[in-house]
């Protein structure tokens, strides 16, 4: 039994690492092709983002909101709800947190931060309520609605940021005022890390329990796998859809709000970055196979890629775009890793090469 478990973990680790290694090899050729040294490049990418104090802290700092959007996507996807509003909710959450952050005065710092985050959460919830109700009561495809609303939202927020009371007239670019210093998360340990990371971790732990042990987690699994079954066993699926989407919206709003108060401090048009907190959350949820621990690891991995890519540009002559190319390649390859767990491709390959299938037990239901 012990041995079996060990073997299992070994295989798990291997099948996670292999695609990444393969991606790095392919990427290495690209780097070679432009006449640079892949070893140095990867050295910088990994070393700077994970093995230096400030780099690691920065990576963790970036992972904070990604953990939340990853969870936000996973909650919904697990229940078979394709909620792309996570991106919009995060952006709106950030925006509203900023508004409270600069317009509210005369409260203590913790209260101010709390109110900002609360507003961000509420904004995320309200925004997601639109597709949630449309889906639950009118059966409107949530994926399309949320995609469209995200586009619309960005334009509306741009409109508010470009003029009127929220615009910082002193800024030469499109931006709201910056949040007042007491609404900012304080940097900790002489690094980029802020308390927001720990908030994310606490929420992560809470959701680990929700997914694995709670009634809601049970119901989400049931809805995701068999809606008719969940109806028949007495769940109010409509209400559950709404509940799940709103949870997803709240998580996203919090992610955006936290990102605002710990990193951006003012709403600008590139607030969510590229590809965006929500989209990255989606990749994370999928790469992490909608499993909380997977999401945690994937968030740190994607955050490290982000941090590392800035360092690569700064400390090597490999241009930033190549890092984008690398990211694309890695994502292509990890998609195949996710599959491996599900369909046991490594096992199948072994099968093909003539070993008895007894040695290759099914990869279980983990996916």
């Amino acid at each position: 039994m012990e041995k079996k478990k060990l073997k299992h973990y070994l295989r798990e680790t291997l099948s996670t690492l292999l695609p990444i290694l393969a991606a790095l090899v392919v990427g290495g050729f690209v780097i070679l092709a432009i006449g640079e040294n892949p070893i140095t490049t990867y050295g910088v990418l990994l070393q700077k983002s994970l093995f230096t104090y400030s780099g690691l802290m920065k990576t963790l700092h970036y992972a904070g909101p990604l953990i939340l959007t990853g969870l936000a996507i996973a909650v919904a996807f697990k229940a078979n709800i394709y909620n792309m509003a996570v991106e919009g909710a995060a952006v709106l959450g950030g925006f509203s947190a900023a508004v409270v952050g600069f317009s509210l005065h005369g409260v203590s710092a913790p209260v101010h931060i709390f109110l900002c985050l609360l507003t961000g959460i509420l904004a995320g919830v309200l925004y997601t309520a639109i597709p949630a109700f449309l889906k639950a009561y009118l059966n409107v495809d949530e994926m399309v609605v949320t995609l469209m609303l995200n586009y619309a939202l960005v334009i509306v927020l741009q409109y508010f940021t470009e003029g009127g009371a929220l615009k910082d007239p002193k800024a030469g670019y499109v931006s709201t005022y910056s949040v007042s210093p007491d609404a900012m998360f304080q940097k900790l340990f002489n690094s980029d890390l802020t308390p927001f990371f720990f908030i994310s971790i606490i929420i992560f732990i809470f959701f680990w329990f929700v997914f694995k042990k709670s009634k809601l987690g049970y119901e989400i699994t049931a809805m995701g796998n068999n809606p008719a079954f969940s109806e028949a066993s007495g769940m109010n699926v409509r209400r559950k859809i709404i509940l799940i989407m709103l949870i997803s919206g709240a998580l996203s709003g919090l992610a955006g709000g936290g990102f605002m108060l710990s990193e951006k401090y003012r709403y600008t048009l590139d607030f969510s970055g590229d590809p965006g907190l929500g989209w990255e959350g989606m990749l994370i949820a999928l790469v992490g196979r909608k499993d909380p621990v997977g999401i945690l690891i994937a968030s740190i991995f994607f955050a490290a890629l982000n941090t590392g890519s800035d360092y690569v540009d700064m400390f090597t002559n490999v241009p930033k775009n190549i890092v984008g190319v690398l990211q694309g390649i890695i994502i292509l390859f990890v998609s195949f890793r996710a599959a491996d767990a599900k369909f046991g491709i490594s096992a199948k390959l072994r099968d093909k090469f003539g070993k008895s299938p007894k040695d290759a037990p099914a990869e279980g239901k983990a996916a």
């Binding site: 329990f209 042990k213 709670s214 009634k215 809601l216 049970y218 119901e219 699994t221 049931a222 796998n225 068999n226 008719a228 079954f229 969940s230 109806e231 028949a232 066993s233 007495g234 769940m235 109010n236 299938p357 007894k358 037990p361 099914a362 239901k365």
Partner: protein
């Protein structure tokens, strides 16, 4: 001559050996029946014949030649055809499109002297071919019907035609009658005989031993992946087969004790229930009945006459547009499933894998479905892991559910065991009323006996039971009274004791008994 011969055919799955050195012979132009408990490995064996699964070891010979199938296509090429336990039809396509799938007739253009096929399908010609085929086999199908909207019996005919059109010599049927109504079964069995007359070789898997006796020439019994017997049908009896399969004496028909219930209080009352779609289509028409404490009420009828809708309304899956439902004077009209459960209604749904179970979840989780919010399993929104596991242990033991381990998934269980999960779950909720729809569909004789016993036990405890089943013998052997539905209405009532299947049959056909 043996058209199919296997020598030591074995199929291993990661956690079980589904077929263990199977060696059998299937003679030409005969009907060979294969019987065995749920999970014995019948389907697996057929899948290997049909190229859906590859054997781990062993030899498969078709017409004397050793073959290795990589896909069903290879099997079809060798003259094999299979009608699966779960149909492999495309609901949105028409009957003729389904039959022709994979062997479409295409329009051709003449270029010079040659006919060159275009990518376009010649629907007209296809339709004609199929109409001809239908005539030839004397079936009642219309080529243009959409498969999604035809009856199950008709779907099966489509599956059969699919094979016949491909001119197969060997037809495999995996539990073909499990989903058929008694009216459909008769002609189907006749069809089998006809095909045999025409020289086809047939393998029939079924749990209904009567059918085995009626049509087969040879019976093979499988138990836990091994062959434990093979004999000419004439030399055996249903009782003997059942005993072999299960390994103990099995009662093929439970002994029900009939009592006079007229003095018992009415537990459940359905009054003037009706469902009318917005299009004006009437699905249920003024259905009324009562069930008294300790009474088993059976509902019989040809499939599609409103039984499913009735069950859906009574189990909270569909709204009714008129009428009322009450349990001990408590109004339950249009209650949701959860409220129904709270009120003491236990439900065994028609399709176990759609409404009853979630295959992708653990057995332990399925055993609490619908009750997962009850305080014994859940506190403050979190499930009590210990209680859930303890529940699993108890139920598995009490209901003899064969599972691999504590963390087994329903998808790993055979049909009979899956059904037992539902039985265990619903019975242990201590209900006031049980609504059971097709409780033993696809279940082996041993399990049927068990489920029937449990149902009677429940009514013995003064609970009310409603049974809806297309299996007439089931309804007849369990019910105190039998209602027959026709076109959404209750067309007649027959006492359960000494019920006459002929009389019920007439009612089911819509011929109301005079008086």
């Amino acid at each position: 001559m043996n058209v199919i011969e296997t020598i030591g055919l074995t199929k291993e799955y990661p956690n079980c050996v589904a077929n263990d050195h199977i060696s059998i012979q299937v003679p030409q132009s005969e009907i060979t029946a294969i019987v065995g408990e749920n999970g014995a490995g019948k389907t697996t064996l057929m899948n290997m014949f049909y190229g859906m699964e590859r054997p781990t070891s062993g030899v498969l010979k078709i017409e004397g030649r050793e073959v290795r199938f990589n896909s069903p296509l290879d099997a079809i090429d060798c003259g094999l055809g299979m009608v699966h336990q779960h149909f492999k039809l495309v609901p949105s396509l028409t009957v003729f499109e389904n039959i022709m799938l994979g062997t479409e007739t295409r329009k051709a253009v003449k270029i010079g002297k040659r006919q060159v096929p275009t990518p376009f399908i010649d629907k007209k010609q296809e339709k004609e071919k199929i109409a001809e085929l239908i005539r030839q086999y004397n079936l009642s199908l219309s080529p243009d019907d959409i498969v999604g909207s035809i009856s199950i019996g008709a779907k099966q005919q489509v599956e059969i035609l699919k094979m016949l059109y491909r001119n197969v010599n060997i037809l495999i049927f995996d539990e073909p009658t499990a989903v058929l109504t008694p009216q459909e079964i008769e002609p189907f069995l006749q069809n089998l005989k006809n095909m045999k007359q025409q020289g086809k070789t047939i393998i029939l898997i079924t749990h209904k031993l009567q059918e085995v006796m009626e049509v087969s020439d040879q019976v093979i019994v499988i138990k836990r992946g091994k062959i434990i017997g093979s004999m000419p049908t004439a030399e055996t009896s249903p009782a003997q087969l059942a005993d072999m399969m299960v390994g103990r004496k099995v009662l093929l028909r439970v002994d029900k004790k009939y009592e006079d219930l007229s003095q018992k209080p009415v537990a459940y009352e359905v009054k003037n229930l009706s469902v009318t779609e917005s299009s004006g289509k009437v699905l249920l028409d003024d259905v009324s009945f009562q069930i008294r404490e300790g009474e088993v009420l059976g509902i019989a009828g040809v499939e599609g006459n409103g039984q499913s809708e009735l069950v859906n309304v009574l189990t909270g899956m569909m709204r009714c547009t008129g009428g009322s439902v009450s349990l001990y004077d408590r109004d339950l009209t249009n209650y949701w499933p959860r409220e129904l459960r709270k009120a003491g209604v236990a439900m065994i749904p028609e399709d176990r894998y759609i409404q009853g179970l979630c295959r992708e979840m653990k057995v332990s989780e399925n055993l609490i479905a619908g009750y997962h919010g009850n305080p014994e399993f859940c506190s403050h929104g979190f499930l009590r892991g210990k209680a859930v596991r303890e529940n699993l242990r108890q139920q598995v033991e009490k209901y003899d559910i064969r599972i691999g381990g504590e963390s087994s998934y329903v998808s790993e269980l055979s049909g009979g065991n899956a059904q037992k999960i539902i039985i265990a779950r619903e019975f242990s909720s201590d209900p006031k009323l049980l609504i059971a729809s097709q409780p033993t569909r696809g279940v082996d004789v041993g399990s049927i006996e068990f489920i029937h016993k449990k149902i009677l036990e429940l009514s013995g405890q003064n609970k009310a039971v409603l049974i809806v089943s297309s299996e007439l013998s089931e309804v007849m052997s369990l019910s105190d009274r039998i209602l027959v539905m026709f076109k959404g209405k209750i067309i007649g009532e027959v006492p359960g004791k000494n019920a006459d299947s002929g009389e019920i049959g007439l009612l089911m056909a819509g011929i109301a008994a005079a008086g």
